[in-house]
Protein backbone atom coordinates (compact mmCIF):
# COMPACT_ATOMS: atom_id res chain seq x y z
CA UNK A 1 0.00 0.00 0.00
CA UNK A 2 0.99 3.61 -0.38
CA UNK A 3 3.17 4.58 2.59
CA UNK A 4 3.43 7.81 4.53
CA UNK A 5 6.64 9.71 3.84
CA UNK A 6 9.39 11.10 6.07
CA UNK A 7 11.11 14.14 4.60
CA UNK A 8 14.34 15.77 5.78
CA UNK A 9 14.70 19.49 5.09
CA UNK A 10 18.13 21.02 4.42
CA UNK A 11 18.50 24.80 4.71
CA UNK A 12 21.14 26.00 2.30
CA UNK A 13 22.81 29.35 1.82
CA UNK A 14 25.38 30.03 -0.89
CA UNK A 15 25.51 26.32 -1.60
CA UNK A 16 26.18 25.25 2.04
CA UNK A 17 23.86 23.88 4.72
CA UNK A 18 23.47 26.53 7.36
CA UNK A 19 22.00 24.76 10.35
CA UNK A 20 24.72 22.81 12.08
CA UNK A 21 24.65 19.08 12.43
CA UNK A 22 26.41 16.70 14.71
CA UNK A 23 26.64 13.84 12.27
CA UNK A 24 29.67 11.77 12.95
CA UNK A 25 31.40 10.08 10.04
CA UNK A 26 30.42 12.89 7.73
CA UNK A 27 33.57 14.63 6.60
CA UNK A 28 31.81 17.86 5.69
CA UNK A 29 28.45 18.40 7.39
CA UNK A 30 28.13 21.72 5.61
CA UNK A 31 28.04 20.09 2.21
CA UNK A 32 24.37 19.63 1.26
CA UNK A 33 25.25 17.00 -1.33
CA UNK A 34 27.01 14.82 1.27
CA UNK A 35 24.18 15.36 3.74
CA UNK A 36 21.50 14.56 1.16
CA UNK A 37 23.31 11.39 0.11
CA UNK A 38 23.66 10.38 3.75
CA UNK A 39 19.92 10.77 4.41
CA UNK A 40 19.04 8.86 1.24
CA UNK A 41 21.30 6.03 2.32
CA UNK A 42 19.71 6.00 5.78
CA UNK A 43 16.27 5.48 4.26
CA UNK A 44 14.65 8.92 4.25
CA UNK A 45 11.80 8.96 1.70
CA UNK A 46 12.29 12.41 0.24
CA UNK A 47 14.34 15.57 0.67
CA UNK A 48 13.59 19.29 0.58
CA UNK A 49 16.38 21.78 -0.13
CA UNK A 50 15.36 25.20 1.10
CA UNK A 51 17.60 27.91 -0.30
CA UNK A 52 17.78 31.03 1.86
CA UNK A 53 20.44 32.80 -0.19
CA UNK A 54 19.49 36.39 -0.91
CA UNK A 55 22.08 37.43 -3.46
CA UNK A 56 22.17 37.90 -7.21
CA UNK A 57 24.36 34.81 -7.40
CA UNK A 58 21.52 32.72 -6.01
CA UNK A 59 20.18 31.31 -9.25
CA UNK A 60 23.51 29.99 -10.50
CA UNK A 61 24.60 28.43 -7.20
CA UNK A 62 21.20 26.83 -6.68
CA UNK A 63 21.13 25.26 -10.14
CA UNK A 64 24.62 23.92 -9.59
CA UNK A 65 23.59 22.49 -6.22
CA UNK A 66 20.48 20.85 -7.69
CA UNK A 67 22.58 19.20 -10.40
CA UNK A 68 25.04 17.89 -7.83
CA UNK A 69 22.31 16.52 -5.56
CA UNK A 70 20.50 14.91 -8.51
CA UNK A 71 23.76 13.30 -9.61
CA UNK A 72 24.36 11.70 -6.19
CA UNK A 73 20.94 10.99 -4.75
CA UNK A 74 18.52 8.29 -5.91
CA UNK A 75 15.36 9.52 -4.18
CA UNK A 76 13.04 12.43 -5.04
CA UNK A 77 13.76 15.95 -3.88
CA UNK A 78 12.06 19.32 -3.88
CA UNK A 79 13.82 22.66 -4.10
CA UNK A 80 12.35 25.87 -2.66
CA UNK A 81 13.17 29.33 -1.37
CA UNK A 82 12.39 32.58 -3.14
CA UNK A 83 11.61 30.97 -6.49
CA UNK A 84 9.19 32.86 -8.68
CA UNK A 85 10.18 33.12 -12.33
CA UNK A 86 8.93 30.48 -14.77
CA UNK A 87 12.43 30.32 -16.27
CA UNK A 88 13.91 29.50 -12.85
CA UNK A 89 11.39 26.70 -12.28
CA UNK A 90 12.24 25.27 -15.68
CA UNK A 91 15.99 25.46 -15.08
CA UNK A 92 15.68 23.74 -11.68
CA UNK A 93 13.50 20.93 -13.03
CA UNK A 94 15.77 20.40 -16.02
CA UNK A 95 18.75 20.24 -13.65
CA UNK A 96 17.23 17.25 -11.88
CA UNK A 97 14.89 18.57 -9.16
CA UNK A 98 11.67 16.57 -9.03
CA UNK A 99 9.52 19.34 -7.62
CA UNK A 100 9.77 23.05 -7.02
CA UNK A 101 8.20 24.65 -3.97
CA UNK A 102 6.68 28.13 -4.27
CA UNK A 103 5.54 30.44 -1.51
CA UNK A 104 5.55 34.27 -1.69
CA UNK A 105 5.59 34.38 -5.49
CA UNK A 106 2.30 32.50 -5.83
CA UNK A 107 0.67 34.56 -3.07
CA UNK A 108 1.57 37.68 -5.06
CA UNK A 109 0.43 36.10 -8.32
CA UNK A 110 -1.82 33.05 -7.78
CA UNK A 111 -2.22 32.56 -11.55
CA UNK A 112 1.40 31.46 -11.60
CA UNK A 113 0.29 28.11 -10.09
CA UNK A 114 -2.00 27.48 -13.09
CA UNK A 115 0.72 28.43 -15.53
CA UNK A 116 3.42 26.29 -13.91
CA UNK A 117 1.11 23.27 -13.49
CA UNK A 118 0.07 23.47 -17.16
CA UNK A 119 3.66 23.77 -18.28
CA UNK A 120 5.46 21.27 -16.02
CA UNK A 121 2.63 19.12 -14.61
CA UNK A 122 1.02 19.34 -11.17
CA UNK A 123 3.39 16.67 -9.84
CA UNK A 124 6.26 19.15 -10.03
CA UNK A 125 4.53 22.07 -8.30
CA UNK A 126 4.47 22.24 -4.49
CA UNK A 127 2.81 25.22 -2.84
CA UNK A 128 4.42 26.02 0.51
CA UNK A 129 2.08 27.65 3.01
CA UNK A 130 3.43 29.24 6.21
CA UNK A 131 0.54 29.63 8.64
CA UNK A 132 0.30 31.18 12.09
CA UNK A 133 -2.44 30.78 14.68
CA UNK A 134 -3.86 34.25 15.34
CA UNK A 135 -6.63 33.73 17.93
CA UNK A 136 -5.55 34.61 21.44
CA UNK A 137 -5.77 31.55 23.71
CA UNK A 138 -8.19 29.40 21.66
CA UNK A 139 -10.09 26.94 23.88
CA UNK A 140 -10.23 24.18 21.22
CA UNK A 141 -8.86 23.52 17.75
CA UNK A 142 -12.16 24.75 16.36
CA UNK A 143 -11.48 28.21 17.85
CA UNK A 144 -8.13 28.49 16.14
CA UNK A 145 -7.69 30.92 13.28
CA UNK A 146 -4.83 30.19 10.90
CA UNK A 147 -3.53 32.96 8.68
CA UNK A 148 -0.93 32.77 5.96
CA UNK A 149 2.30 34.70 6.52
CA UNK A 150 5.37 35.45 4.42
CA UNK A 151 8.92 36.56 5.19
CA UNK A 152 9.54 34.00 7.90
CA UNK A 153 6.23 34.71 9.60
CA UNK A 154 6.58 38.49 9.75
CA UNK A 155 4.17 39.66 7.05
CA UNK A 156 0.51 38.62 6.98
CA UNK A 157 -0.58 37.68 3.47
CA UNK A 158 -4.24 38.46 4.12
CA UNK A 159 -5.35 34.89 3.50
CA UNK A 160 -6.91 32.23 5.67
CA UNK A 161 -4.79 29.06 5.51
CA UNK A 162 -7.36 26.45 4.49
CA UNK A 163 -8.94 28.73 1.88
CA UNK A 164 -5.54 29.41 0.34
CA UNK A 165 -4.59 25.71 0.32
CA UNK A 166 -7.87 24.90 -1.42
CA UNK A 167 -7.28 27.60 -4.01
CA UNK A 168 -3.73 26.36 -4.64
CA UNK A 169 -5.05 22.80 -5.15
CA UNK A 170 -7.78 23.99 -7.50
CA UNK A 171 -5.25 25.97 -9.52
CA UNK A 172 -3.18 22.85 -10.07
CA UNK A 173 -0.69 22.46 -7.22
CA UNK A 174 0.32 18.81 -6.79
CA UNK A 175 1.11 19.03 -3.10
CA UNK A 176 0.89 21.39 -0.11
CA UNK A 177 3.87 21.93 2.20
CA UNK A 178 2.12 23.20 5.30
CA UNK A 179 4.29 24.83 7.98
CA UNK A 180 2.94 26.08 11.29
CA UNK A 181 5.00 29.14 12.21
CA UNK A 182 3.41 28.84 15.67
CA UNK A 183 5.03 25.41 16.11
CA UNK A 184 8.23 25.68 14.06
CA UNK A 185 11.27 25.38 16.32
CA UNK A 186 9.29 24.54 19.46
CA UNK A 187 9.80 20.76 19.29
CA UNK A 188 6.41 20.45 21.01
CA UNK A 189 4.74 18.61 18.15
CA UNK A 190 3.10 19.49 14.85
CA UNK A 191 -0.02 21.66 14.53
CA UNK A 192 -2.56 18.85 14.55
CA UNK A 193 -5.74 20.90 14.19
CA UNK A 194 -4.35 22.89 11.27
CA UNK A 195 -2.98 19.79 9.54
CA UNK A 196 -6.17 17.79 10.02
CA UNK A 197 -8.27 20.60 8.58
CA UNK A 198 -6.10 21.08 5.51
CA UNK A 199 -5.50 17.34 4.90
CA UNK A 200 -9.26 16.70 4.99
CA UNK A 201 -10.02 19.84 3.02
CA UNK A 202 -7.85 19.39 -0.08
CA UNK A 203 -7.67 16.50 -2.54
CA UNK A 204 -3.88 16.59 -2.91
CA UNK A 205 -1.16 15.30 -0.55
CA UNK A 206 -0.18 17.45 2.46
CA UNK A 207 3.30 17.58 3.99
CA UNK A 208 3.17 18.70 7.63
CA UNK A 209 6.07 20.81 8.88
CA UNK A 210 7.05 22.60 12.07
CA UNK A 211 7.29 21.32 15.63
CA UNK A 212 8.78 17.83 15.40
CA UNK A 213 10.57 16.91 18.63
CA UNK A 214 10.01 13.24 19.41
CA UNK A 215 8.90 10.14 17.50
CA UNK A 216 5.31 10.29 18.81
CA UNK A 217 4.86 13.68 17.12
CA UNK A 218 5.32 12.01 13.73
CA UNK A 219 2.76 9.33 14.56
CA UNK A 220 0.27 11.98 15.68
CA UNK A 221 0.56 14.12 12.57
CA UNK A 222 0.52 11.14 10.17
CA UNK A 223 -2.37 9.20 11.74
CA UNK A 224 -4.86 11.45 13.55
CA UNK A 225 -3.40 14.49 11.75
CA UNK A 226 -3.99 12.86 8.38
CA UNK A 227 -0.86 14.25 6.69
CA UNK A 228 0.60 12.22 3.82
CA UNK A 229 4.14 13.19 4.83
CA UNK A 230 5.99 14.73 7.78
CA UNK A 231 8.94 17.04 7.33
CA UNK A 232 11.60 17.79 9.91
CA UNK A 233 15.02 19.37 10.03
CA UNK A 234 16.77 19.69 13.37
CA UNK A 235 15.65 16.40 14.95
CA UNK A 236 17.33 14.65 12.05
CA UNK A 237 20.32 16.98 11.70
CA UNK A 238 21.24 16.81 15.37
CA UNK A 239 20.75 13.08 15.57
CA UNK A 240 17.89 13.19 18.12
CA UNK A 241 16.08 10.72 15.91
CA UNK A 242 17.59 8.30 13.42
CA UNK A 243 15.63 7.61 10.27
CA UNK A 244 15.74 3.86 10.90
CA UNK A 245 14.73 4.16 14.56
CA UNK A 246 11.87 6.51 13.73
CA UNK A 247 10.58 4.31 10.92
CA UNK A 248 10.69 1.20 13.08
CA UNK A 249 8.75 3.02 15.79
CA UNK A 250 6.15 4.25 13.29
CA UNK A 251 5.75 0.76 11.81
CA UNK A 252 5.04 -0.68 15.26
CA UNK A 253 2.52 2.14 15.80
CA UNK A 254 0.67 1.07 12.66
CA UNK A 255 1.85 3.82 10.31
CA UNK A 256 2.48 2.52 6.77
CA UNK A 257 6.17 3.14 6.07
CA UNK A 258 8.76 2.03 3.54
CA UNK A 259 10.98 0.02 5.89
CA UNK A 260 14.70 0.66 6.15
CA UNK A 261 16.86 -2.15 5.11
Amino acid sequence: MLTKRLIACLDVQNGRTVKGTNFVNLRDAGDPVALAARYAQEGIDELVLLDITATVEKRRTLIELVRNVAREVNIPFTVGGGIGAVADVEALLLSGADKVSLNSSVLREPGLIDELARRFGSQAIVVAVDARQTTEAPATAADEAWEVFTHGGRHPAGREALAWCREAAERGAGEILLTSMSHDGTRDGYALGLTRGVAAGVGIPVIASGGAGVAAHFRDVLLPGGAEAALAASVFHFGDLSVAGLKNYLLTEGVAMRPVG
Binding site: D45, D98, G121, S122, Q123, E175, R258, P259
Partner: protein, 216 residues
Amino acid sequence: MNIAVIDYQGGNVQSVLFALERLGMNATLTSDPEVIRRADRVLFPGEGEASSAMRALRAAGLDKVLPTLTQPFLGICLGMQLLGRHSEEGPAGGTELLGMLPFDVVRFTPPDAAHKVPHMGWNNLHDLQTPLFENLGGGGAGPPAAVPTAADYVYFVHSFYAPVGDYTIAQASYPAGAPFSAGVRYRNFYGVQFHVEKSGPAGEQILKNFLVADLT
Protein backbone atom coordinates in the same frame (compact mmCIF):
# COMPACT_ATOMS: atom_id res chain seq x y z
CA MET B 1 26.65 -0.74 -24.66
CA ASN B 2 24.86 1.91 -26.63
CA ILE B 3 22.01 3.50 -24.62
CA ALA B 4 19.68 6.11 -26.08
CA VAL B 5 17.52 8.32 -23.86
CA ILE B 6 14.80 9.92 -25.94
CA ASP B 7 14.79 13.71 -25.81
CA TYR B 8 11.44 15.28 -26.68
CA GLN B 9 11.06 17.98 -24.01
CA GLY B 10 9.29 15.31 -21.97
CA GLY B 11 10.44 16.31 -18.52
CA ASN B 12 13.10 15.08 -16.21
CA VAL B 13 15.57 13.39 -18.57
CA GLN B 14 18.49 14.63 -16.49
CA SER B 15 17.53 12.38 -13.57
CA VAL B 16 17.48 9.36 -15.89
CA LEU B 17 20.93 10.27 -17.24
CA PHE B 18 22.28 10.64 -13.69
CA ALA B 19 20.76 7.29 -12.64
CA LEU B 20 22.54 5.59 -15.56
CA GLU B 21 25.73 7.43 -14.62
CA ARG B 22 25.48 6.02 -11.08
CA LEU B 23 25.44 2.56 -12.66
CA GLY B 24 28.59 3.47 -14.55
CA MET B 25 26.81 3.82 -17.89
CA ASN B 26 26.88 6.68 -20.35
CA ALA B 27 23.84 7.34 -22.47
CA THR B 28 23.11 9.53 -25.48
CA LEU B 29 20.29 12.03 -25.11
CA THR B 30 18.80 12.19 -28.58
CA SER B 31 15.75 12.71 -30.78
CA ASP B 32 17.57 11.49 -33.92
CA PRO B 33 15.73 8.43 -35.31
CA GLU B 34 18.97 6.93 -36.65
CA VAL B 35 20.77 7.17 -33.32
CA ILE B 36 17.71 5.72 -31.57
CA ARG B 37 17.47 2.80 -34.07
CA ARG B 38 21.14 1.89 -33.58
CA ALA B 39 20.98 1.85 -29.76
CA ASP B 40 21.14 -1.43 -27.80
CA ARG B 41 18.68 -0.09 -25.25
CA VAL B 42 16.18 2.77 -25.45
CA LEU B 43 14.84 4.69 -22.45
CA PHE B 44 11.74 6.83 -22.86
CA PRO B 45 11.17 9.12 -19.86
CA GLY B 46 8.09 11.24 -19.51
CA GLU B 47 6.59 13.75 -17.14
CA GLY B 48 3.78 16.24 -17.33
CA GLU B 49 0.70 16.03 -19.47
CA ALA B 50 -0.18 13.44 -22.15
CA SER B 51 -1.49 15.64 -24.99
CA SER B 52 1.52 18.02 -24.82
CA ALA B 53 3.88 15.03 -24.78
CA MET B 54 2.18 13.51 -27.86
CA ARG B 55 2.35 16.87 -29.62
CA ALA B 56 6.10 17.06 -28.95
CA LEU B 57 6.61 13.48 -30.18
CA ARG B 58 4.68 14.18 -33.39
CA ALA B 59 6.63 17.39 -33.97
CA ALA B 60 9.86 15.39 -33.77
CA GLY B 61 8.44 12.61 -35.98
CA LEU B 62 9.02 10.14 -33.14
CA ASP B 63 5.41 8.91 -33.06
CA LYS B 64 6.20 7.02 -36.28
CA VAL B 65 9.69 5.87 -35.25
CA LEU B 66 9.14 4.47 -31.76
CA PRO B 67 6.58 1.75 -32.66
CA THR B 68 9.04 0.33 -35.24
CA LEU B 69 11.89 -0.21 -32.77
CA THR B 70 12.99 -3.77 -32.00
CA GLN B 71 15.57 -3.46 -29.18
CA PRO B 72 14.59 -3.51 -25.47
CA PHE B 73 12.67 -0.30 -24.82
CA LEU B 74 11.63 1.11 -21.43
CA GLY B 75 8.99 3.79 -20.99
CA ILE B 76 9.07 5.53 -17.60
CA CYS B 77 6.01 7.11 -15.89
CA LEU B 78 4.24 9.13 -18.60
CA GLY B 79 6.60 7.37 -21.03
CA MET B 80 4.91 4.10 -20.03
CA GLN B 81 1.40 5.53 -20.38
CA LEU B 82 2.18 6.85 -23.87
CA LEU B 83 2.71 3.24 -25.04
CA GLY B 84 -1.04 2.63 -24.68
CA ARG B 85 -3.93 3.42 -27.02
CA HIS B 86 -5.75 6.27 -25.38
CA SER B 87 -5.59 8.46 -22.25
CA GLU B 88 -8.36 10.28 -20.43
CA GLU B 89 -5.81 13.04 -19.87
CA GLY B 90 -5.92 15.98 -22.25
CA PRO B 91 -8.47 18.38 -23.70
CA ALA B 92 -12.04 17.16 -24.34
CA GLY B 93 -12.08 13.50 -25.33
CA GLY B 94 -8.57 12.79 -24.07
CA THR B 95 -5.48 11.92 -26.08
CA GLU B 96 -4.64 9.29 -28.70
CA LEU B 97 -1.38 7.58 -27.71
CA LEU B 98 1.33 5.60 -29.54
CA GLY B 99 -0.63 2.34 -29.44
CA MET B 100 2.08 -0.29 -28.97
CA LEU B 101 0.14 -1.77 -26.03
CA PRO B 102 -3.59 -2.44 -25.80
CA PHE B 103 -4.49 -0.38 -22.72
CA ASP B 104 -6.48 2.79 -22.12
CA VAL B 105 -5.17 5.16 -19.45
CA VAL B 106 -7.76 6.37 -16.92
CA ARG B 107 -7.80 8.78 -13.97
CA PHE B 108 -7.75 7.61 -10.36
CA THR B 109 -11.16 8.09 -8.75
CA PRO B 110 -10.49 8.19 -4.99
CA PRO B 111 -13.16 6.46 -2.88
CA ASP B 112 -12.86 9.01 -0.04
CA ALA B 113 -11.08 12.18 1.07
CA ALA B 114 -8.25 10.19 2.67
CA HIS B 115 -7.08 8.99 -0.76
CA LYS B 116 -5.36 11.82 -2.56
CA VAL B 117 -4.64 12.28 -6.25
CA PRO B 118 -1.87 12.28 -7.41
CA HIS B 119 -0.91 8.86 -6.08
CA MET B 120 2.38 10.17 -4.70
CA GLY B 121 5.02 8.33 -2.72
CA TRP B 122 6.50 4.88 -2.08
CA ASN B 123 4.30 1.88 -2.79
CA ASN B 124 5.13 -1.82 -2.90
CA LEU B 125 5.25 -3.87 -6.10
CA HIS B 126 3.61 -7.26 -6.36
CA ASP B 127 2.81 -9.96 -8.92
CA LEU B 128 6.12 -9.35 -10.68
CA GLN B 129 6.96 -11.10 -13.96
CA THR B 130 9.83 -11.08 -16.47
CA PRO B 131 13.58 -10.67 -15.79
CA LEU B 132 13.07 -6.89 -15.56
CA PHE B 133 12.11 -7.46 -11.92
CA GLU B 134 14.57 -10.17 -10.93
CA ASN B 135 17.02 -9.96 -8.01
CA LEU B 136 14.95 -7.39 -6.12
CA GLY B 137 15.20 -9.44 -2.95
CA GLY B 138 11.70 -8.52 -1.82
CA GLY B 139 8.53 -10.59 -1.78
CA GLY B 140 7.31 -9.12 -5.04
CA ALA B 141 6.89 -12.22 -7.20
CA GLY B 142 3.61 -13.21 -5.58
CA PRO B 143 0.50 -11.36 -4.38
CA PRO B 144 0.95 -8.35 -2.07
CA ALA B 145 3.21 -9.33 0.85
CA ALA B 146 1.73 -8.97 4.35
CA VAL B 147 4.96 -7.28 5.44
CA PRO B 148 6.72 -5.84 2.38
CA THR B 149 10.46 -5.25 2.62
CA ALA B 150 12.39 -2.17 1.52
CA ALA B 151 13.21 -3.93 -1.76
CA ASP B 152 9.51 -4.04 -2.69
CA TYR B 153 9.06 -0.25 -2.64
CA VAL B 154 9.38 2.16 -5.55
CA TYR B 155 8.42 5.84 -5.96
CA PHE B 156 5.24 6.82 -7.82
CA VAL B 157 3.82 10.20 -8.83
CA HIS B 158 0.82 10.01 -11.16
CA SER B 159 -2.86 10.86 -11.43
CA PHE B 160 -3.65 8.49 -14.31
CA TYR B 161 -3.00 4.75 -14.61
CA ALA B 162 -3.20 1.73 -16.90
CA PRO B 163 -5.59 -0.97 -15.62
CA VAL B 164 -4.32 -4.53 -15.10
CA GLY B 165 -4.43 -6.72 -18.24
CA ASP B 166 -2.57 -9.48 -20.10
CA TYR B 167 0.26 -6.98 -20.75
CA THR B 168 0.79 -6.31 -17.00
CA ILE B 169 4.14 -7.53 -15.62
CA ALA B 170 4.06 -5.70 -12.27
CA GLN B 171 1.27 -4.46 -10.06
CA ALA B 172 0.89 -1.95 -7.26
CA SER B 173 -2.33 -1.08 -5.47
CA TYR B 174 -4.04 2.23 -4.81
CA PRO B 175 -6.18 2.26 -2.76
CA ALA B 176 -5.08 -0.94 -0.99
CA GLY B 177 -6.74 -3.88 -2.72
CA ALA B 178 -7.21 -2.03 -6.03
CA PRO B 179 -4.32 -3.08 -8.32
CA PHE B 180 -3.12 -1.12 -11.35
CA SER B 181 -0.30 -1.71 -13.85
CA ALA B 182 3.04 -0.71 -12.31
CA GLY B 183 4.83 -2.45 -15.19
CA VAL B 184 3.72 -3.46 -18.71
CA ARG B 185 5.20 -5.34 -21.64
CA TYR B 186 4.49 -6.23 -25.24
CA ARG B 187 7.38 -7.85 -27.16
CA ASN B 188 10.40 -5.51 -26.71
CA PHE B 189 8.31 -2.67 -25.33
CA TYR B 190 8.47 -2.44 -21.53
CA GLY B 191 7.10 0.30 -19.35
CA VAL B 192 7.11 1.18 -15.66
CA GLN B 193 4.69 3.61 -14.02
CA PHE B 194 7.04 4.45 -11.15
CA HIS B 195 10.15 6.61 -11.32
CA VAL B 196 12.78 3.90 -11.63
CA GLU B 197 15.47 6.62 -11.58
CA LYS B 198 14.30 7.91 -8.17
CA SER B 199 13.38 4.65 -6.48
CA GLY B 200 16.41 4.04 -4.27
CA PRO B 201 18.15 0.64 -4.35
CA ALA B 202 15.08 -1.14 -5.80
CA GLY B 203 15.00 1.29 -8.72
CA GLU B 204 18.70 0.85 -9.33
CA GLN B 205 18.29 -2.92 -9.51
CA ILE B 206 15.41 -2.66 -11.99
CA LEU B 207 17.36 -0.22 -14.17
CA LYS B 208 20.35 -2.54 -14.06
CA ASN B 209 18.11 -5.47 -15.04
CA PHE B 210 16.87 -3.48 -18.01
CA LEU B 211 20.45 -3.01 -19.18
CA VAL B 212 21.74 -6.55 -18.64
CA ALA B 213 18.83 -9.03 -18.51
CA ASP B 214 17.61 -10.98 -21.52
CA LEU B 215 14.39 -9.12 -22.30
CA THR B 216 13.66 -10.50 -25.74
